[in-house]
């Protein structure tokens, strides 16, 4: 894994001067009595990887679900920097617009591949479905783009017509990834993408993610409870606890010099 940091040239330093690609303001969400997310702001800049760390129940997955427009908060706004959507709070979109926006501009990789894949359909078909929803009706084009996308996620091409249920966990994650990046999304959401994989496969999948990120400068939001994963991937880190952001900053800063008590515990527990 050490080699990958040298093979591909790093992009220009990603300064926070650009227009944010994703911005959420004042997000609050509760489930009955439980306040899952309390007044959270998220900003992600183009080409950057934002890591969100926190223990179970800290609200990180709920936040990601809202970024994927699967859920609506009680309060808050959500903007993506897209040519036609810049002014709109995405939470005000109707069901149909949400679905189209999700299909075209948001990619997601779930921890559980059953959520993201049609297990009974072929792997290439799973990728093609994304393109079909976006309106592509050309068989040859669907076929070649599905293949390209699977190739980009380093999926073995001789198995592109195998069903995900016949594949290993790591492969299933690669199919999910291929599906997510098939339409070059504005933002790629990763919900514990490598949890549940063994360490060597985890390293390979992270390797692919890293390479993709560097080649295509995809904007990513990575949710994980695994600090190792966050440290490998993220440029910036947000630490969440009990629905609030307790600390955020550059990855090195968070890991080397954690300020908040909880972050300190977290970092030291890991190291």
């Amino acid at each position: 894994m050490a080699a990958l940091f040298n093979t591909v040239p790093r992009h220009e330093p990603r300064l926070m001067l650009a227009e944010p690609m994703l911005s959420m303001r004042g997000i609050s969400k509760s489930f009955g009595e439980v306040k899952a997310v309390i007044d959270v702001d998220v900003t992600v800049y183009p080409g950057e990887v934002l890591g969100i760390v926190g223990e179970s129940g800290s609200g990180k997955s709920t936040l990601l679900r809202m970024m994927n427009l699967e859920d609506t908060p009680e309060a808050g706004s959500y903007h993506l920097s897209l040519p036609d959507q810049e002014e709109r709070n995405l939470f005000t979109l109707d069901r149909f617009e949400r679905r189209m926006l999700r299909a075209r501009h948001i990619g997601i990789v779930y921890q559980n591949p059953h959520l993201g894949l049609l297990m009974g359909h072929t792997s290439s078909g799973n990728v093609a479905e994304r393109l079909l929803i976006a309106g592509n009706r050309n068989f040859a084009d669907l076929r070649s783009r599905a293949r390209e996308s699977l190739q980009a996620s380093e999926f073995p091409l001789e198995r592109i017509d195998a069903r995900p249920r016949e594949l290993s966990g790591g492969m299933q994650q690669r199919v999910q990834l291929a599906k997510a990046i098939a339409l070059e999304p504005a933002v790629l959401l990763l919900d514990e993408p490598t949890t549940g994989l063994d360490v060597s496969v985890q390293a390979l999948v992270l390797d692919t993610l890293k390479r993709l990120q560097q080649e295509r400068a995809i904007t990513m939001v990575l949710v994980s409870h695994d600090l190792g994963v966050i440290r490998t991937m993220a440029d910036r880190v947000m630490v969440m606890r009990r629905g609030r952001v307790v600390e955020q900053g550059l990855a090195d800063q968070i890991f080397q010099d954690p300020q908040h008590e909880y972050t300190q515990q977290l970092v030291h527990a890991k190291l």
């Binding site: 049609l118 290439s124 078909g125 479905e129 929803i133 068989f139 084009d141 669907l142």
Partner: protein
Amino acid sequence: MTLKDLTKPWAAFNYGFLDESAKRELRRKMLKAVAVPGYQVPYASREVPMARGWGTGGLQATLTLLKPTSVVKVIDQGADDSVNAVSIRKFFARVGGAVETEDTQKATIIQSRHRIPEEKLREDQILVLQVPDPEPLRAVQPDMSIAREMHGDADYGQLWLVLYEQLVKSGRIIQGSSYPSMVNGRYVISPSPIPRWDVKKLHQADHLTILSAGREKRIYAVPPYTNVEPLVFDDVPYRVEDHQDKTCYRSNVTGFFMNELPQDDGSSRHELSDSHFGVKQIRRNEGEAVEIAKTWYNNGRMD
């Protein structure tokens, strides 16, 4: 005043077998189905003296449309003379006083399963199709309530996905019947188990088509002059069965949908699937002055 004065005189059954409230419901549901082409309207499927799955949906629709001047034709797999077709037709005559016919042109109501007649239907005719499974999404989404949401969202990507995988696996689309088709650019329907050959006949047709599923309790319609487009890829054209150059061994007619009859020597012969159309052709060949209407397909082509 006695109770007897207030009630209707006793009769063995109501006109058209179904009671008036049932027919009223069905008429309202049919109107709704016509107003929203391709949308599956739920209805309370009644008991009829026939087992579910044998055409009870079509039967109820036809009974509702029936009037004493109706002329009814019933088709089963293209034939007018199968047991099922004959008994349904006789039933209409008995409970509604309808005239029975085998002639597509003379009929006002045509109830059918598996086929649409080869002769073009007119504006004053109604085609009632019996549907075993009205849900085109059944194969990809077993949960009916989610399937209904998908219809609401026009979320039909997975239907194309099924076709995509057929192309990947077999090199061609192998969906033989119930070919999913987009009605009026909005709802995808399963056009009942008619062959691909017949799906094109629904597009911009002169007649009204009512599709009714008795067991599944759903009714939907293709109104006259409505677009019905089979789902296809831009680069893979829709293809009907290869019956263009098959010749019927009884009537010597070529270019229509055929039944294949396997022979003892391993070869096969073909006969016209639309049986009365075949009868008319034979009678014409024998010199009788038989009137045959325009057909949808000419020389095996439709355009």
